[in-house]
Amino acid sequence: MKSKTTGIVLENHEIAKGIYQMKLAVGDTAKEAKVGQFINLYLPRRDLLLPRPISISQISIGEGTFKLVYGVVGKGTKELSKMKEKEGIPFMGPLGNGFKVDEGVKNHILIGGGIGVPPLLQLASELKGNISVYLGFREEPFLVEEFKKYSNQVLIATEDGSYGAKGDVIKLLDENPPEGEMVYSCGPKPMLKAVADWSRAVDINAQLSMEERMACGIGACLVCTCKIKDEGLMKWQNKRVCKDGPVFLRDEVVWND
């Protein structure tokens, strides 16, 4: 029987402005994790009932650890950032479907934005073949050196141009068109939509990791849905990001307005 378990914080420190990396001892749970999955973290603050979904950024089966990288954007992530070594944090997971890695694909294009970057790192470490990485940040970039271990084409854009190119990843892609057979992308919705349009235009297939607010995290409550195309009469149906996703194929996703 699965259950909520407790991870032990091994490290938790700021790696860029407002961005923290947490290393969590999770024991054998590490063996179950697939690239692109996430875990749901439960906070000690009793006024905050809902779990926080955070992608697994790196998996170490040997150590029995997950590395998570998260941005401090609200009450819950603020609370997470205060956790100290040796403290326990309850979590569920790994959850969700993860990216699909097709052995036939030789050239991979990874496109990440902001706090959508972290899960792509584990992906980069697992993919075989040639990897191009396009990362967009608001200001200070993070994990860049780690990506360079797995790819010699890591391109960076920042909104203010303080690091790498000025602008967003789409501009970066337009100016440095990659070659490949599969796009893997994670980031805020507007970016994902732009990546969907771009990849369709250049005719490369894409997997998109979607983000939604969650409650149960396991597919029962239907609060985390996103519109997914449906062959049937209804044209689309609301599918669960936590269970059917977070990764969907570009051509399945129906964009709101």
């Binding site: 029987m1 699965k2 809902l50 779990p51 597919g219 029962a220 239907l222």
Partner: protein, 303 residues
């Protein structure tokens, strides 16, 4: 010490314990079945199901508030045919009671669902006339005593299984509504559904929920739920299923003492997927500690 007897009888249906799942928080048990043994539950109350598939509401469907959750799922469901095909056989594998929560926009919607279920192997029906998240039907039926009476009696005429009517707390006089449902033939009442609430993102200056308002659940609503259960229990004869913010066995005992025969656990499942089983355990522990031989000794036994 001998294990206390946890079984309760609700409208002729014998449950192994008073703990069930709150509709809409537990699907049909398939997902939570990986986290707990469904055989342990008094009953599984399924997500509201309508005569045809509903897509539910657009946009953000959940917001976190202090000690609670706002949701505006809007009764997304696969429709009764799909439900009968997939969910009833799934649940029948387990030794637990099946209570099907019924959604509708019109009286006819409700009646169609009840008729479709008439030959199905389920234990009870729960009529949801209190969903705050759909524009037509739902809560409109649940806030007016005449409407409550009408929809309850129409559904009751067609129902082959005992009928629970689920009440909305968004009313001036819950007792009046409860009496209307009882008079119309409800075999049991369940309360409360969610309180209508709202949350605003002050950076975006926009409501957080796509639907603007949503239903408030969780510990924040427990005092209101308990008060309503207490008031209704003293005014009707039919058994009551209490819910609203139950997180622990102790919370459940409060509802039993206030007069509920059964209790349902909703939002707590999101905090702990095994919340239902820990509530069952907590009730048992309380009975042992209080040297009570049966949970029935608690029901409505407030000094």
């Amino acid at each position: 010490m001998i294990k206390p007897d946890l079984s309760v009888n609700i409208a002729g249906v014998q449950l192994k314990n008073p703990v069930m799942t709150a509709s809409g928080t537990f699907g049909s048990g398939r997902e939570y079945g990986e986290y707990l043994d469904l055989n342990q539950l008094g009953a599984v109350v399924t997500k509201g199901v309508a005569n045809i598939p509903w897509k539910g509401n657009d946009g953000v469907r959940v917001a976190e508030v202090y000690g609670g959750v706002l949701n505006s799922v809007g009764l997304q469901n696969p429709g009764i045919d799909e439900f009968i095909k997939k969910d009833i056989p799934f649940l029948r594998q387990y030794d637990t009671k099946i209570i099907v929560n019924i959604a509708g926009r019109t009286l006819e919607d409700y009646c169609q669902v009840v008729e479709a279920l008439s030959h199905e192997d389920i234990d009870m029906l729960e009529l949801n006339i209190s969903c705050p998240n759909v524009k037509e039907g739902g809560v409109a039926f649940g806030t007016n005593p005449q409407m409550v009476h009408q929809v309850t009696s129409e559904v009751k005429r067609r129902a082959k299984q005992p009928l629970i009517v689920k009440l909305s707390p968004n009313v001036t006089d819950i007792v009046e509504i409860a009496k209307a449902a009882e008079a119309a033939g409800a075999d049991a009442l369940s309360l409360i559904n969610t309180l209508l609430g709202m949350a605003i993102d002050i950076r975006k200056r926009k409501p957080i929920l796509g639907n603007v308002v949503g239903g408030l659940s969780g510990p924040a609503i427990k005092p209101v739920a308990l008060r309503m259960v207490y008031q209704v229990a003293r005014s009707v004869k039919v058994p009551i299923i209490g819910m609203g913010g139950i997180m622990s066995g102790e919370d459940a005992v409060e509802f039993l003492l206030a007069g509920a025969t059964g209790v349902a656990v909703g939002t707590a499942n999101f905090v702990n997927p095994a919340a239902t089983t820990s509530v069952i355990k907590g009730i048992e522990d309380y009975l042992i500690d209080q040297k009570e031989s049966s949970v029935n000794n608690l029901i409505g036994k407030l000094k």
